[in-house]
């Protein structure tokens, strides 16, 4: 299970966001370069059609590492409507590099693939929170990560996630919400698929952050 919100930010303000995050999180940022492949089951396979994501972390040494991820449906109902973050089932598993070939053999086909390039912060603040800021890139040819181009040039996506359990998702959601308020001057964060657009005053906030390296209280 995880709590998740996301938003978009203009690329010109990403540096300011990084300065803000550096000050808030108190940890070193990590480079993010992930090749994300979404696989779908072939017709007739499975009780229902299914989808699985394979994530290849291209920055790991000595060689890229792979993770399989299953993202489930979001919590629904009156309770979910009152929470400002999305709560959904999510299961991850590290896998060895043959996993893609295995899923192809099992009747899964590549539906689409993306390359996410940017940075991330992972820290503890009443919950284990991860913030990633990245450009989302598509490939002109299959698996051609070196030829990837941005899906929306000039815009990057900000994603805030935190793992949760059925017992503690309320507290985790509150921790994520509370953290997101600090980012409000630069980026609107909301449940996925409910876009709030860019922050109209982000330019002023960014200028303020850039001019004194993040010392100004927003």
């Amino acid at each position: 299970m995880e709590c998740v919100v996301q938003g978009i930010i203009e690329t010109q303000h990403v540096e300011a966001l990084e300065i803000l995050l550096q000050g808030l999180c108190g940890v070193q940022r990590e480079r993010l370069r992930v090749h994300e492949l979404t696989l779908k089951s072939i017709p007739n396979l499975g009780v229902v059609s299914s989808e699985v994501r394979l994530l290849c972390d291209l920055d790991q040494q000595p060689e890229p590492t792979w993770t399989v991820k299953h993202v489930g449906g979001a919590m629904r109902g009156a309770g979910a409507d009152q929470i400002s973050v999305m709560v959904r089932t999510m299961i991850e598993s590290k896998v060895s590099k043959n996993a893609l070939r295995m899923f192809y053999s099992l009747g899964y086909k590549l539906d689409h693939e993306l390359l996410k390039v940017g940075f991330a912060f992972h820290f503890q603040r009443n919950a284990h929170i991860s913030v990633s800021v990245s450009s989302v890139n598509k490939m002109p040819k299959i698996h051609a990560i070196d030829e990837a181009v941005p899906v929306t040039p000039g815009m990057q996506i900000v994603v805030v996630t935190a793992p949760a359990t059925p017992e503690n998702y309320g507290e985790v959601a509150a921790a994520v919400s509370s953290f997101c308020e600090f980012l409000a001057p630069l980026v609107h964060l909301s449940k996925p698929f409910i876009s709030m657009g860019v922050v109209p005053t982000a330019a002023a906030a960014a200028a303020s952050l850039m001019s004194d390296g993040g010392g100004t209280t927003l």
Binding site: I42, N44, L45, G46, S50, V68, K94, V95, A99, S105
Partner: protein, 219 residues
């Protein structure tokens, strides 16, 4: 990780496998000064594709299995023998498979028995039993040579150990023998340095041979 060979009991023509073989084998280990360290257990699951339309059969593997190994409790291993594929994953991959609902575990087997220390060797002997059944499907034996991780470098000493083992067991006049299957690990993309993925492949091959050659029998 130390090199490990996985052997299986091949009964003579016309005979079956039973728990008696396991008892004889464990007594034999103890007779050559094996020090009992405790029990061990592993699990193997055969997966079958779930098809919405049973009359339409896409080309999907019939030998897709998953293994949980005693010495890697947080991991799970998938093998598709016909495709020469082996994958190591976190144990949580089993939850992902359940969520996907594309494959279901239709047959599950336990391997359980005892573990012994024998000088520089670790030996495990166990019976193969379908879950929810008492019928013994086979007997397996793991032989681990602790000082060496290279398959090639350990070959001679492993062969010598297996020879000593065969000699010790022959005094018990049992109707069969433990067999080691020569494998080309390179076909599975595995190198000379031993890993748990090598163990996964060995178990998959051992099970295929066992199903083909060993008649099941009750306890």
């Amino acid at each position: 990780m130390p090199v490990k060979w996985v052997l299986y009991w091949q009964p003579n023509q016309g005979t079956t496998v039973s728990t008696q073989i396991l008892n004889e084998a464990t007594q034999c280990v103890e007779s050559i000064n094996g020090v009992k360290e405790g029990r061990w257990k592993a699990t193997l699951n055969y997966y079958k594709p779930m098809l919405r339309d049973q009359s339409n059969h896409p080309d999907l593997p019939r030998d897709f299995l998953g293994i949980s190994l005693a010495d890697q409790p947080s991991k799970y291993y998938f093998v598709i023998r016909s495709q020469r594929i082996v994958v190591e994953a976190d144990a949580s991959i089993q939850l992902i498979m359940e969520k996907l609902q594309s494959y279901k575990s239709k047959v599950s087997l336990y391997f359980d028995g005892f573990q012994y220390q024998l000088g520089d060797f670790r030996v495990r002997v166990g019976r193969v039993v379908p879950v929810h059944s008492e019928s013994v499907r086979g007997i397996v034996m793991e032989v681990e040579y602790l000082p060496i991780s290279s398959m090639e470098k350990s070959r001679k000493v492993m062969e010598e150990f297996v020879e000593i083992w065969h000699e010790a067991l022959s005094k018990r006049s049992l109707s069969g023998k433990f067999v080691n299957i020569e494998l080309n690990f390179g076909e599975f993309g595995l190198a000379d340095t031993y890993t748990p993925q090598h163990t996964g492949v060995q178990y998959a091959i051992v099970m295929a041979h066992m199903i083909a050659t060993v008649q099941p029998a009750r306890g």
